[in-house]
């Protein structure tokens, strides 16, 4: 059974059209976001690790080393099983600092553009065998599928030109869907979904092939087991021993190679930002690989039983099986598995490598003038597309150059052993802060040099330099075993040089900071840096010379949106965060080296201060888990923090530069300003009156301010006392105590004392005046009736009127003086409030000379208060009388009540002329009146105040109630509520 060129190309076209369709539908949202962003999709997309080696090469590995073929899967699976050790820390760095590739990560860690360039060049060299592997798997598969007819140029088409055509379609796919999103921050839904689709196709095809092998070749599982037990050859194949050193080497190769391969790194970190997905991948990727490995042994055994190895290479056992069984289904499944595996790996690998080339070779060499470009994003996109094409064609020429001298396993070994040289730097990133760029570069080039001489050259060109000959004479093993030793030797050289040079060479401060940021035990403590701008809007002006107007605006706005800041943000802390965010975003766009260079050049740090407490606190608060001493210290920190936060006095601290570092809950209560609005801002930007108060007190020489009066709004007067101290670092600690209640209590005590004094005085005066006045009144009365003289009679009547007035005043004084003295003997009883108000209104209505105002009693008829009804009546008569006097002829006096818990509040409100604010503090003072002379004694409100105090209640004044000619006044009485008992309950 063979396929024609048209049929093969149709198969290729159908599969790649499927990939296009899936990617397009996902990009346009026609595939639900729930699917395209589902963790399972991300996990399946990681199946790109299993390229042509997994679909074909591993069968040869099983045939050659028996059970040892598992090391291929075990290496990559262990990477995920132990994801907490390496993948999660790297994901954290990639996510926070927008690092999309291995070169980005190592450039960020070692703070050197040279590191990025070196990694990119080395990766390009190491990746060529990998690309050649994928294309060779495709080319050979096409050749076998066509039963060799294409190899002879049948119809002008060879398997190589068919492979080239496939490469071109893959190039178009990678250019269209891979380079669509140029920022590392955006997940490329189309690409990820298409890669997940390819992984599913690959798995289904491999499982289908396995079933065909089991049932078509052996007749079922029991039969296969029986054949296995009876076949000495198969038994021997299974237990073929790989020297343990080689097994370790293979394990390390596939473990490290899996992580360092650019396509795997890209899918792991650039297309994923969720640690949740990675946690899911820790068990599901090994599960996927286990399922993928299930058909490997049956296929190898089928090849052994049918002696397929004699007719061709066993790497293509699936295709050979299809030919042997004359089964188009088996052939198509085998080809689809190869096509899906090879195309997915090629597309993502070239895409990732193209990004590395742009960020670490082209942009740092200033081949592209960013500031002059009107649309940087478009230029970068096309640059990446061109590089993708160049790299895929480069892979194709590598395939042509190698000319099939190496099988797939050999090519995989070459590629994996090359990328292995990045693993020392990668492990040092989170685990060895002492590593530096000199050590990394020296180790990388030394290791790669040994690898080039001892592995690459002999394998690819057949030329073995003298040094390699010497090494092969010294090293044990032969063939692949010798490669394993040579690879381990190269890695050993790399690691040794890396360690020695890192320990000997000096490490720059910048590198040290980056090392701490990357470290697992991150000890980096950011400092408060002074930036050359006053608000976020100025970032655009500063970045314009480097990025151009449009890009600068777009990047600043993006960072502002992500941080949820506005353009007028002026807090120094916020500006520092914005600077870091812009650098991280530019890092995802242009690579960390160029981004760092632009930020350092355009937004230089003017000065550095002490530690950035706000940033450190924020970082520590987002940490979920600490262990050991760190956990204890963090617990202690939280406890002290909580103690300071819950202090019953306001506590705020500010740095020497005036930046607010602490603002506890009591400060929030006192000032009404939230900590989020204050922390990280300068004291000068606080709202009044706090800005003036704190600024002046901070600048004053005195450490204590016992009493400061502040007005935080109309009728909102407060008093605070302040204390301060300076820390060794120059920070100012301020204690702010709210003494408003204390001040008011003191004022009330003074008022009560004044009332008591006046009461005592009034009693004495009343007593002394009352008797002579009574005598005068008696004499005047006698005089009136004793004398007939009209003039004397009129004078006597005048005397009587005046003595009557004096008597009223004396009575008032007596009432006032008695008011305070009754409190101890008062027997409070339930009084119906509405009835009491009605009676007061009735009494006032009897006065025909008073202005005609309208009274409205809106008190709830059911409300009962605990009071003395006569005293309460006196209160209402005074208040309603005052209200009436304050109103004109259209006056309205309303009395309302409402309950508040166990208290009853009663409003007596008028629409009269109101009481000026300046006089309000005096209205409860005895003898204070605004009425005309002779119209009032000035004792009414003082009496009300005194009675309410006796009744266990209070009275408050509010005026004005509105603007205009009749602003009105409201007196609010507060009394305890009561009830008549259950007997009267309705």
């Amino acid at each position: 059974m063979s396929f024609s060129a048209a049929q093969v190309l149709l198969l290729v076209a159908l599969f790649l059209a499927g990939l296009f369709a899936v990617a397009t539908l996902a990009d346009r949202g026609l595939i639900s976001r729930r699917i395209s962003h589902h963790p399972a999709t991300y996990i399946l997309s990681l199946g790109i690790f299993a390229g042509g080696m997994a679909s074909n090469g591993v069968i040869e590995l099983a045939h050659r080393y028996g059970y040892n073929f598992f090391v291929y899967y075990a290496g990559f699976s262990l990477l995920f099983v132990f994801s907490g050790l390496l993948l999660l820390p790297l994901l954290r760095l990639s996510r926070v600092y927008q690092l999309a590739s291995l070169a980005d990560l190592l450039t960020f860690r070692f703070r050197s553009a040279r590191v990025g360039a070196a990694v990119t060049v080395a990766m390009a060299i190491a990746l060529m065998p990998m690309l050649a592997l994928q294309i060779q798997a495709l080319g050979d598969s096409i050749q076998i599928l066509s039963n060799g007819t294409l190899a002879n140029g049948n119809g002008g088409v060879t398997h190589r030109s068919a492979a080239l055509a496939t490469c071109l379609v893959m190039t178009v796919f990678a250019m269209l869907f891979g380079a669509r999103n140029i920022s590392a921050q955006e997940r490329n839904a189309g690409l990820v979904t298409a890669m997940a689709f390819a992984s599913l196709v690959k798995l289904a095809a491999m499982l289908g092939l396995g079933l065909i092998a089991v049932f078509a070749v052996f007749g079922g599982l029991p039969e296969m087991q029986q054949w296995l037990e009876n076949s000495a050859e198969a038994q021997a194949l299974l237990v073929q021993h790989l020297p343990v050193e080689n097994a370790h080497a293979f394990l390390l190769l596939f473990f490290a190679g899996g992580l360092c391969m650019p396509h795997v790194f890209h899918m792991l970190f650039a297309e994923n930002t969720e640690s949740r997905d990675l946690r899911g991948a820790s068990w599901s990727v090994p599960l996927y690989l286990m399922l993928l490995s299930l058909p490997v042994l049956p296929l190898a055994w089928a090849g052994l039983r049918l002696e397929l190895g004699d007719s061709g290479r066993l790497e293509y056992a699936g295709l050979l099986l299809g030919q042997y069984l004359d089964s188009p289904l088996a052939s198509i499944l085998a080809f689809l598995a190869t096509l899906a595996a090879a195309s997915a790996a090629t597309v993502v690998a070239t895409l990732a490598l193209a990004n590395m080339c742009v960020n670490h070779l082209i942009l740092p060499s200033r081949l592209l003038n960013l500031s002059q470009d009107s649309d940087i994003y478009r230029h970068l996109r096309w640059l990446r597309r061109a590089l993708i094409a160049v790299l895929i064609i480069g892979g194709y020429f590598s395939y042509l150059g190698l000319d099939g001298r190496q099988n797939l396993m050999g090519l995989a070994y070459l590629a994996f052993s090359g990328t292995l040289h990045f693993i020392p730097g990668l492990i040092a990133t989170p685990y060895w802060p002492a590593a530096n760029r000199s050590g990394f570069l020296a180790g990388l080039w030394s290791g790669l040099a040994v690898w080039f001489v001892a592995v690459l050259l002999p394998v690819t060109s057949g030329y073995t330099p003298e040094l390699a000959q010497l090494l092969s004479a010294i090293l044990p093993g032969s063939g692949n075993n010798a490669w394993a030793f040579a690879s381990m030797l190269a890695l050993s050289v790399n690691v040794t040089v890396f360690i020695v040079v890192s320990l000997l060479a000096p490490t720059s401060e910048e590198e040290r900071v980056a090392a701490e940021v990357c470290s697992m035990d991150d000890l980096n403590r950011p400092v408060r840096q002074l930036l050359p701008m006053d608000n976020a809007g100025e970032f655009v002006d500063l970045l314009r010379p480097a990025l151009g107007e449009r890009t600068a605006q777009a990047e600043v706005q993006r960072a502002l949106d992500e941080l949820q800041f506005t353009g007028d943000e002026a807090r120094p802390y916020a500006l520092r965060r914005l600077r870091r965010r812009i650098e991280a975003n530019l890092s995802g766009l242009l690579g960390p080296a160029v981004a760092h260079n632009i930020i350092e050049r355009c937004i230089p740090i003017q000065a550095s201060g002490n530690e950035d407490i706000t940033m450190i606190e924020r970082f520590l608060d987002t940490q979920v888990q600490f262990t050991g001493l760190a956990a204890d210290l963090d617990s202690l920190r939280r406890r002290y923090r909580e103690t300071l936060d819950t202090l019953p006095v306001g506590l705020c601290s500010m740095g020497a530069d005036g930046e607010m570092l602490m603002w506890n809950r009591c400060m929030v209560d006192i000032t009404g300003v939230t900590a989020a609005d204050v922390l990280g801002s300068r004291v000068e930007t606080l709202v009044e009156p706090w800005r003036k108060l704190l600024t002046e007190f901070r600048a004053s020489e005195s450490d204590t301010l016992l009493r400061a009066e502040i007005n935080t709004g109309e009728n909102n007067q407060r008093w605070v006392s302040l204390h301060k101290s300076l820390t060794a670092e120059g920070d100012t600690m301020l204690l702010v105590e709210d003494i408003t209640d204390f001040e008011r209590m003191e004022e009330e005590l003074l008022h009560n004392e004044r009332l008591a004094s006046i009461g005592r005085l009034s009693a004495g005066v009343a007593h002394e005046i009352g008797n002579p006045v009574t005598a005068i009144a008696c004499l005047a009365q006698n005089l009136e009736y004793a004398e007939d003289c009209e003039e004397i009679g009129t004078t006597a009547q005048d005397i009587l009127r005046q003595t009557a007035r004096v008597s009223r005043i004396v009575d008032s004084l007596v009432n006032f003086s008695h008011a305070g003295s009754q409190s101890e003997n008062l027997e409070l009883k339930p009084c119906n409030l509405a009835d009491c108000v009605d009676e007061a209104i009735h009494l006032l209505s009897l006065d025909r000379e008073a202005p005609p105002v309208q009274y409205e009693n809106r008190c709830d008829r059911e409300v009962v208060v605990l009071a003395d009804s006569q005293l309460l009546l006196q209160v209402f008569v005074n208040l309603l009388g005052n209200a009436r006097d304050a109103c004109n002829s259209e006056g309205l006096v309303q009395v309302r009540s409402y309950e508040s818990g166990e208290r009853v509040l009663i409003d007596v409100e008028d629409n009269g002329h109101g009481i000026p604010t300046a006089l309000q503090s005096q209205v409860f003072e005895p003898f204070f009146t605004t009425k005309d002379p002779g119209a009032g004694t000035g004792l009414g409100l003082a009496l009300v105040y005194s009675i309410m105090d006796d009744l266990g209640g209070s009275v408050h004044l509010t005026s004005p109630l509105q603007t205009g000619p009749n602003p009105g006044t409201r007196f609010t009485l507060e009394l305890g509520s009561a009830s008549y008992g259950e007997v009267f309950a309705v």
């Binding site: 028996g66 132990f82 237990v239 090994p286």
Partner: protein, 58 residues
């Protein structure tokens, strides 16, 4: 950053036990599916150890 000590311990145990495990798995009397059995156990343990983790420990 949180270092999972159990993982470090498990990695050390894997490295120490690897030769013994390999001999046990690859002796000529062992069933071919022993590898898959062991692999399934590793997957189950990994799933179990990750099931109660906080969703985002970064």
């Amino acid at each position: 950053m949180y270092i999972n000590r159990m993982l470090v311990l498990a990695l050390l145990l894997t490295l120490i036990c690897y030769p013994v495990l390999k001999d046990w798995l690859s002796n000529e009397y062992s069933a071919w599916y022993r590898y898959y059995f062991l692999w399934s156990c590793v997957i189950l343990i990994t799933w179990w150890s990750n099931r109660s983790r906080h969703t985002d420990e970064l």
